[in-house]
């Protein structure tokens, strides 16, 4: 009995910590619809600043209560100011850009802040002091429970109440709620959106900073916090329902309690099988998210978002003769590369081709089909693992494996897509993320079959393809065909139907198009192409690991598509080439390459708010659209 109570309290403390991060994100997300990747970085900044502020205020025997809580407050304010500045200097300039484009800017901010923290605070973990007066534990039912955790629970509850009052009882809160439901209407009614957005950003960021600072007595400040927090925070926001603060609280509570009891129960014997529940904590929040979204498409306490009035999509046109010949010239040039360039160019071009196909397949979903995917790496990884396992476990010849592997990805896409296409917008995107993480965790855990965290090595091409240039031609042919096929499909009647569904689901329905089935097929097509990219990748590297299905690769895909321009078919190809090449070049030439890469991305975002190809098209007219 006592253990259940204690684990419940552990869960409450965890929920409180989770809620503090997620509440700010939920506000920002609800009002501005920005997928703010930098929220985790702000949290990390919060814990670092608090560490320094408390250290600065400390005497020889540690911080006094004023020093400790003052430091926490300073940190929250400083992070809030950072968030407000980011909004004013960066995001405000790109609200007019296509949906999700702001994600790219915040990705740049993540890279910059990470290197900033490394530069200021150094690489070592920094364990801060305990809270003065709350160092010890209290006995609850005969078990020791940290006093600070009780305080943390109380703080979480107070912040929830304060936010609820702010949103329900003040004019500002009313505006925030109105903007969450329908921000264009709020704008039409004469509310100054700029300041509303800035204020929401400042408050949301301050909450992230507060959430980070309050963790000082519980965990060290370290450089990996940003990414480990951001996914969890998004899960909480989406499970709760975007923009719903009570929803975020409820979701944080459910997820933290489930985690806590998974750990508490330990091994479980079910029907003769031993299930290790603690291992489940790797992925449990994503399982919860998948279940909640399948059952409630707008989260636990969320509502269907207001109608979107901005016409988002562009359309593709058949190639003009001039463009067609230019394309052929590029192809000829690419085919000649092994004869004119050194060996490494070929290696780098294989990577670029693979990611171009990967980005093109993601673009197929995001552009013509109007479905953003945050978990596209799943299909890339399934293709890669499919290829490796067909060779290693099933004993297929390499050539057969390479060509069969995409069907593994297609099967995965068919399964996941069937659920995803029933949702829309960010909820759909988050469900793809949930499935991707579940697939990742299976691959990561299944040592005997997938090689677990080490992955599979020794996946090399057949001897006749072993030379770099031979394999390059294989990659060029397959990726070229894949990209060409995607484009053919966009221009086919099926592609028009997809676009119709994206631009006007109601009319589409009225004509009698089965939109859900169309979108499902789009998922399978995109998954197959991503799987092909993954299979080519596996054989070009000779090994694969769970990274090929992980969130960072999904994010890279998004970055490539957005960098090139989501409204153009050649955008993802250009974006993939640029991003891969930049990463390769920048990483080689500077120590703080992440900050430099982030800075370049931010600059590109400000210069080309439509993406690079989008910019070129806008600038030079629409002729010869590719």
């Amino acid at each position: 009995m006592s253990s259940i109570v204690i684990q419940f309290l552990n869960g409450l403390a965890g929920a409180s910590a989770l809620f503090l991060v997620a509440a700010g994100l939920s506000l920002i997300f609800g009002v501005t619809r920005i997928v703010n990747f930098a929220h985790g970085s702000l949290y990390m900044l919060g814990i670092y600043i608090a560490y320094s502020a408390i250290g600065w205020a400390s005497g020889s025997d540690g911080p006094g209560p004023m020093g400790f809580w003052g430091g926490v407050l300073v940190s929250a304010i400083a992070v809030g100011a950072t968030g407000a500045l980011t909004e004013m200097l960066l995001l405000r300039r790109i609200y007019g850009a296509p949906e999700l484009f702001q994600l790219l800017a915040t990705f740049g901010v993540v890279l910059v802040l990470k290197d900033f923290a490394l530069w200021v605070w150094g690489p070592e973990d920094l364990l801060g002091p305990r809270a003065p007066g709350l160092q010890g534990s209290v006995a609850i039912l005969g078990q020791a429970f940290p006093t600070y955790d009780l305080v943390l629970i109380a703080i979480g509850a107070s912040v929830l109440c304060a936010l609820w009052l702010l949103l329900r009882r003040t004019r500002w809160g009313m505006l925030v709620r109105a903007a969450t439901q329908d921000r264009e209407m709020v704008g039409a009614l004469g509310v100054n959106q700029k300041w509303l957005f800035t204020a929401v950003f400042a408050l949301g960021s301050a909450l992230a900073g507060l959430g980070g600072a309050l963790q000082i007595p519980r965990e060290p400040a370290q450089l990996l916090l940003d990414l480990s927090v951001i996914a969890d925070a998004f899960v909480v926001v989406v499970v709760g329902g975007m923009g719903s603060v009570p929803g975020a609280a409820l979701a944080a509570l459910i997820i933290a309690e489930i985690k806590s009891f998974c750990v508490g129960i330990g091994q479980l014997d079910v029907l003769g099988f031993t299930v290790s529940l603690p291992k489940l904590t790797l992925v449990v929040e994503f399982i919860v998210m998948a279940i909640v979204l399948v059952a409630r498409p707008w989260g636990l306490l969320g509502r269907a978002p207001g109608p979107q009035r901005v016409f988002a999509g562009g359309h593709e046109q058949p190639l003009q003769p001039a463009v067609r010949s230019a394309l052929l010239a590029i192809l000829a040039l690419l085919a000649a590369v092994p004869f004119i360039a050194n060996g490494y160019t070929v290696v780098l071009l294989i990577d670029i081709l693979v990611f171009a196909l990967f980005a093109a397949s993601l673009h197929f979903l995001m552009g013509p089909a109007g479905m953003a995917s945050f978990g596209h790496a799943a299909y890339f990884g399934l293709g890669a693992y499919g290829a490796a396992l067909l060779v290693k476990a099933a004993g297929f010849p390499m050539e057969t494996a390479l060509l069969s592997a995409p069907f593994v990805a297609a099967a995965g896409a068919a399964l996941f897509g069937w659920f995803c296409v029933r949702l829309s917008g960010v909820y759909l995107a988050m469900l793809t993320l949930a499935f991707a993480q579940i697939a990742w965790s299976v691959v990561f855990q299944w040592d005997t079959f997938t090689g677990g965290s080490n992955g599979i090595v020794g996946v090399w091409p057949s001897p006749w393809l072993a030379s770099g240039s031979a394999y390059y031609y294989v990659a060029l042919t397959l990726c070229g065909c894949g990209i060409w096929l995607l484009r053919r499909i966009v221009l086919s009647p099926y592609g028009f139907a997809l676009r119709a569904g994206r631009d006007s689901p109601l009319r589409c329905d009225a004509i009698g198009i089965d939109l859900v089935r169309m979108q499902w097929v789009a998922f399978i097509v995109a998954g197959t192409c991503a799987g092909l990219a993954g299979a080519i990748y596996a054989f070009s590297k000779g090994s694969i690991s769970p990274e090929t299905l992980s969130i960072p690769l999904s994010v890279d895909g998004l970055v490539m598509v957005l960098l090139g321009g989501v409204q153009t078919a050649s955008g993802p190809v250009v974006g993939a080439a640029l991003f891969t090449w930049l990463q390769d070049t920048v990483a080689r030439n500077t120590d703080y390459w992440r900050a430099l890469l982030g800075g370049i991305i931010i600059a590109l975002v400000l210069l080309f708010p439509q993406g690079i190809v989008g910019f070129i098209r806008q600038r030079f007219g629409r002729s010869g659209s590719l």
Binding site: P278, V457, S545, R588
Partner: protein
């Protein structure tokens, strides 16, 4: 029109790749080094200082084979795919003679397999996975650090001596933690029949739910705990465990817990009397270590971490191999590496011919707190050569070349 941009871009790309190839300084020997500098900065910044120091010393003495030595270093982003690309670049564009480095096990394994495919020497510096020299061992790959199995085995004598009956296990949920726990259980059972493992907690790497884990361990009422946590997970676990009294009256063993990288952040929180493997740089008194310590502190004004020793010893191994081979030919280098003896700050080590594992050991001792700092006390050097499986076992694990 917008394809114009694409064309220009592609042309520019090819042009840059063709012309950006740096000029090779004549006569310099180049070694390719790759590591996850940004992902594991706490370990790898000192590591980099370590190899830079070694490089300077080697060149001050006139280099190797009458030529200057240069190290071309790349960041592998903690990702096997990027690592293989970086390795390709080092070989084909920088024309390095062979490869050294890597931190994470999966990256190390990927680069090892790449080295086998390209028939080029690879000295894995840090990855701990047993597989790199055993199950997935290959002709071209050698490993410096004591593996997970070896370091676990170093703790077994103390663990068996205590004769505790009920053990709880906590580990980060990936290959390193899994192998450490499996090796610990197997070896302890062999040394102490009748030992019982009452609970196991596998925690997500970097995201331990420390409160819940501590509570779950306490409830299993173990006499002793074996942990392979490190980094932020270890700090969280130690703090929760201290607050909740988990460690009171219990013996605790923590693999890697004495490495400055993971011990230093604990400061006054450092638990007393834990059995750990690590690197007590402040108390090792051997001529070879004193020389290294002085040189390092003089050069950087900072004390060395374990990473510094690994970086330093990696370069020293590479240099010794080149000297012995008298050549940069891969096959000759591999032959020279087998049975190669190298002087390191930990004393003389040997790269075993049978499995390409070095005998570099680790220091085993008890944690203590001194002036608000965590230190290792009552320690001794455990020579890696004494904590290997038998040759027959190695032969059955390791594939034939």
């Amino acid at each position: 029109m917008k394809t114009l941009g694409s064309i220009l871009f592609s042309v520019g790309l090819v042009w840059l790749q063709v012309h950006a190839a740096p000029a090779v300084a004549q006569g310099t020997i180049k070694i390719g080094e790759l590591n996850s500098y940004k992902v594991f900065a706490a370990f790898l910044q000192p590591y980099k200082k370590g190899w830079e120091l070694a490089l300077e010393e080697v060149n001050a003495e006139g280099g190797v084979l009458g030529r200057k030595l240069a190290i071309v270093s790349r960041d592998d982003n903690g990702n096997p795919g990027d690592a293989v690309r970086a390795a390709e670049e080092l070989l084909s564009r920088e024309n390095v003679s062979f490869l050294v480095g890597t931190f994470a096990s999966h990256v190390g394994l990927a680069v090892a397999d790449f080295a086998k495919q390209k028939k080029v020497l690879f000295i894995a510096a840090e990855p701990l996975t047993d597989k790199i020299t055993w199950q997935n061992g290959n002709r071209y790959t050698f490993r410096l650090r004591a593996s997970t199995y070896m370091q676990t085995a170093m703790l077994i004598p103390d663990a068996a001596k205590l004769n505790k009956k009920r053990w709880a296990i906590v580990y980060p949920n990936y290959e390193y933690g899994q192998s450490a726990s499996a090796a610990f259980k197997a070896l302890l059972k062999k040394n102490q029949p009748g030992v019982e493992f009452v609970t196991e907690q596998a925690t997500p790497l970097g995201k331990i739910d420390a409160g819940a884990v501590t509570q779950a361990l306490a409830e299993a009422r173990p006499d002793a705990i074996f942990s392979s946590l490190f980094g932020a997970d270890l700090a969280r676990f130690v703090r929760e465990g201290n607050t909740r009294g988990l460690f009171k009256g219990r013996a605790v063993f923590n693999l890697l817990g004495g490495e400055p990288e993971y011990l230093d952040p604990l400061k006054d929180e450092t638990p007393k009397g834990w059995y750990v493997t690590g690197y007590p740089w402040y108390a090792i008194d051997t001529p070879e270590h004193n020389r290294f310590l002085n040189a390092y502190q003089k050069r950087y004004g900072d004390y060395p971490r374990l990473g510094s020793v690994v970086g330093y010893a990696t370069v020293m191994s590479a240099v010794a191999a080149m000297k012995r081979a008298g050549s940069l030919d891969s096959e000759k280098l591999v032959a020279a590496m087998e049975g190669l003896q190298v002087d390191t700050p930990f004393g003389k080590i040997t790269y075993r011919a049978q499995d390409h594992q070095s005998t570099m050991g680790a220091y085993v001792g008890r944690t203590a707190s001194r002036n608000g700092r965590g230190v290792m006390d009552q320690f001794h050097y455990a020579d890696g050569a004494k904590f290997m499986p038998s040759d027959a076992e190695v032969r059955s694990m390791r594939p034939r070349d």
